[in-house]
């Protein structure tokens, strides 16, 4: 394989791996459930995109065929990631999961749980 192509694939794979790792690291490091929700939903999207692009280039160059599974995986990921994040946040609200003390706007959680309008006009 052409060393330049190989290098490009490596860069994509490393970038992807790095972001997925960061996502998992965030899961470990961030202080409460809600903040933890952010790391895997975001950092992982780009990480997987990197890995998938790397894989696409590899198969395209190595096997001389266009592999499009990766595009579908990306699409499904983009559709499902926000839905699962939303469901987890919603569940957390209903289970009254501990919120980090310095979180502002905590008075909204009660209203959000009951799906009412916010207690004051914040707009």
């Amino acid at each position: 394989m052409n060393p330049i192509v190989e290098l490009i694939i490596c860069v994509f794979l490393l970038m992807g791996g790095l972001f997925v790792l960061l996502g998992s690291f965030g899961l470990l490091k961030l202080p409460d459930f809600y903040t933890r929700l952010h790391a895997p939903t975001k950092a992982t999207t780009l990480g997987l995109a990197g890995l998938l692009i790397g894989s696409m280039i590899y198969f395209f160059v190595n096997e001389q065929r266009l592999v499009v599974h990766e595009l579908l995986i990306t699409l499904f990921l983009l559709i499902t990631a926000p839905v699962s994040a939303h469901m987890m946040a919603k569940t957390a609200l209903h289970h009254k999961i501990r919120v980090l003390k310095r979180t502002s706007g905590q008075e909204l959680t009660g209203a959000a749980r009951e799906r009412r309008e916010p207690p004051f006009d914040s707009a």
Partner: protein
């Protein structure tokens, strides 16, 4: 004619997508897969069509394309931003719940807005109020509530309203 079409091909766009996705998943255009893809493209919409709810239609296609590109770019930015916040000191994070007033109407536009919020910089949508007037979001690091709400409304909500013409 259109009654016949509605009976046998109730969701033409979705049928086409199913057909293509099946072929893409199998990475093949062998006759067997073409046959299966056609079968699924006809039968699945026929099964689920009665469950469908009336949704607003996309009226401005080019706004939809531009919106998709904006969101993809923002996802890229969001990733770097969240990565930096994860690596930086967590003591300095100022997480917050924010209620954003909704102007868009209808389940589909609100879903798209909520998904966009979850995919873009440091925000996750948590709940929508029953009257669909408010969306509650959790922010990883809040600096200016007013600015954040304005950004969501101008950057995402306005184009969505334009796309669906509501």
């Amino acid at each position: 004619m259109s009654a016949v079409r509605r009976r046998w091909l109730p969701m033409p766009a979705q049928s086409l997508i199913l057909f293509l996705v099946w072929l893409l998943l199998n990475n093949s255009v062998a006759p067997g897969h073409l046959l299966l893809a056609t079968f699924f493209a006809l039968v699945i919409p026929w099964l689920v069509a009665p469950m469908q709810m009336e949704q607003p239609r996309v009226v401005k296609h080019w706004v939809a394309v531009r919106y998709t590109l904006t969101v993809l770019y923002d996802i890229l930015v969001a990733n770097f931003e969240v990565a930096l916040r994860v690596l930086g000191p967590t003591r300095k994070l100022q997480p917050a719940f924010v209620a954003v007033p909704l102007d868009v109407e209808g389940a589909l536009p609100i879903t798209i807005l909520a998904s966009t919020i979850s995919l873009t910089p440091g925000t996750v949508s948590a709940e929508v109020s029953e009257d669909r007037q408010w969306i509650y979001i959790h922010v990883l690091h809040l600096e200016d509530e007013r600015a954040l709400i304005d950004q969501i409304k101008s950057r995402y909500e306005t184009p969505i309203k334009e796309i669906f013409g509501c």
